[in-house]
Amino acid sequence: MDTADIEAKVIQFIATKVENLDASTINRSSKFEELGLDSMDTIQLLFDAEDAFGMSFDSEEAKGFSCVGDIVSYIEKHQAPAAP
């Protein structure tokens, strides 16, 4: 999956976490805090991403994530290789 697809998917997951959040206002530099994501929402977001991209986050590294781009970059680096 390329960067744009990963980003779109992550944004779609975020939009379901917060009531009345317009997905079109979210971009790579959006901070979780500004979007209204609480710590449980962030944990759920990582879970959604693990399921969707067939990878897992290192919990220590994930603690440092603060914006959408942090997650997208991590997934890019660690996503399961595409099936041949």
């Binding site: 976490k17 009531e19 759920q44 879970f47 897992s56």
Partner: protein
């Protein structure tokens, strides 16, 4: 001080909303079908009472759906319907609005699906615990409607809903709340849950090919209950306050009786059942001779229906054969913690409309079940005092008493 029912909401296998539910109940409609929500081919019981046409996305945001188990979603819909029926509770301050919900199993669907993931070495969803916990439904009802008063959950197996309503009566009498949303919710048409009740020989296994005939309380040859799901909520208020705000009133919640068998963990005991019914009458200041309708617990197990019949005879003596009894579970199956809340709505509607819904599938009664169970056809009986029985595992017996307003 009197307590009245000013709103009702029900989500059941025979209809969503009181009008749809009651019309189907009076007609004697069965809501038992082949299980649709999962592959039941490995089970001996492959039928259940599932709520059809329930779409959580029609009234809940993606966030609510992600963070809630089905039992909470059913409870939230029943609550919305009940509040709408009552015209809202804006007349009260949020701190004086309480919630009292019964659920035997809580978010067991989430437990089963998360356990399956764990055993497959997949990550467990973060909201597993908040979805499973028994008080999740009560908590989400409060969150959705900003109800900041007492928030309680009764988990007493099959009598959970009755106890939740009884506790609500106590809260109002004690002055701990001005209005209470009270009822029950259950969503346990699930593989592990059904298998576990099968192991206890509690479920019918003879009717997979004729689901509508499967749940047959008091009938000769019955062989167990049918698992079902649903939710029902009542809006309960002090009568004087309800009148002040001009609320419509369906019936009075007049008494609550509770007794534990303190004998066997799953086998019913007649004395505990009599004590619960007698307790509800004493609580209401009424004598047994005033009772003219009983919404029976009647799950369709061989032993349970006989024991309840004997208990009613013990309570009412010679009058037992003269009053109307009916079994809501003959149509919807056994929705565990929701069952007495749904049965309460059937009882209230009997008092409100004068019609007693039938016990279906009762062509030939068990010789040991020889009372008037309103077989197969509804009857106009105009009852004024109705008991709703709920007897749960743990020897937990609860009976709640409703009366007409006059």
């Amino acid at each position: 001080m009197q307590v009245v029912v000013t709103g009702m909401g029900v989500v059941s296998p025979i209809g969503i909303g009181t009008d749809e539910f009651w019309a189907a109940a009076v007609k004697g409609t069965s809501g038992i079908r082949n299980i649709a929500s999962f592959d039941s081919s490995g089970l001996r019981t492959r039928i259940a009472g599932e709520v059809v046409g329930f779409d959580p996305a029609s009234f809940l945001s993606a966030k609510y759906i992600e963070q809630t188990d089905r039992f909470t979603q059913l409870a939230l819909l029943a609550t919305c319907l009940a509040l709408e029926d009552a015209g809202g509770l804006d007349a009260y301050t949020p701190q004086r609005l309480a919630v009292s919900v019964g659920s035997g199993m809580g978010g067991f669907g989430t437990f089963e699906s998360s356990a399956l993931r764990k055993f497959r070495n997949q990550p467990v969803p973060p909201f597993t615990v908040p979805r499973i916990m028994a008080n999740a439904a009560a908590a989400w009802i409060a969150i959705k409607h900003r109800l900041k008063g007492v928030n309680l959950t009764c988990s007493t197996a099959c009598s959970s809903g009755a106890n939740a309503i009884g506790v609500a009566l106590d809260l109002l009498r004690a002055g701990r709340a001005d209005a209470v949303i009270a009822g029950g919710a259950e969503a346990c048409v699930l593989p592990l849950t059904i298998n576990s009740f099968e192991i206890l020989h509690a479920l019918t296994t003879s009717s997979n090919d004729s689901p509508a005939r499967a749940s047959r309380p008091f009938a000769k040859g019955r062989d167990g209950f049918v698992m079902s799901e649903g939710a029902a909520m009542l809006i309960l208020e002090r009568e004087d306050r309800a009148k002040d705000r001009g609320a419509k009133m369906y019936a009075r919640l007049a008494g609550y009786g509770q007794a534990c068998d303190a004998a066997h963990i799953v086998m019913p005991d007649m004395n505990g059942q009599v004590a619960a019914m007698r307790g509800a009458l004493e609580d209401a200041g009424l004598k047994p001779e005033t009772v003219d309708y009983i919404n029976a617990h009647a799950t369709s197990t061989p032993l349970g229906d006989i024991v309840e019949t004997r208990a009613i005879k013990s309570l009412l003596g010679d009058r037992a054969g003269n009053i109307a009894i009916s079994a809501t579970k003959s149509m919807i199956g056994h929705s565990i913690g929701a069952s007495a809340a749904i049965g309460s709505i059937a009882t209230i509607m009997a008092l409100h409309t004068g019609t007693v819904h039938p016990t279906i599938n009762l062509d030939e009664a068990d010789p040991e079940c020889d009372l008037d169970y309103t077989p197969n056809h509804a009857q106009q009986k105009n009852p004024r005092v109705g008991l709703c029985n709920a007897f749960g595992f743990g020897g937990n017996n609860a009976s709640i008493l409703f009366t007409t307003l006059e």
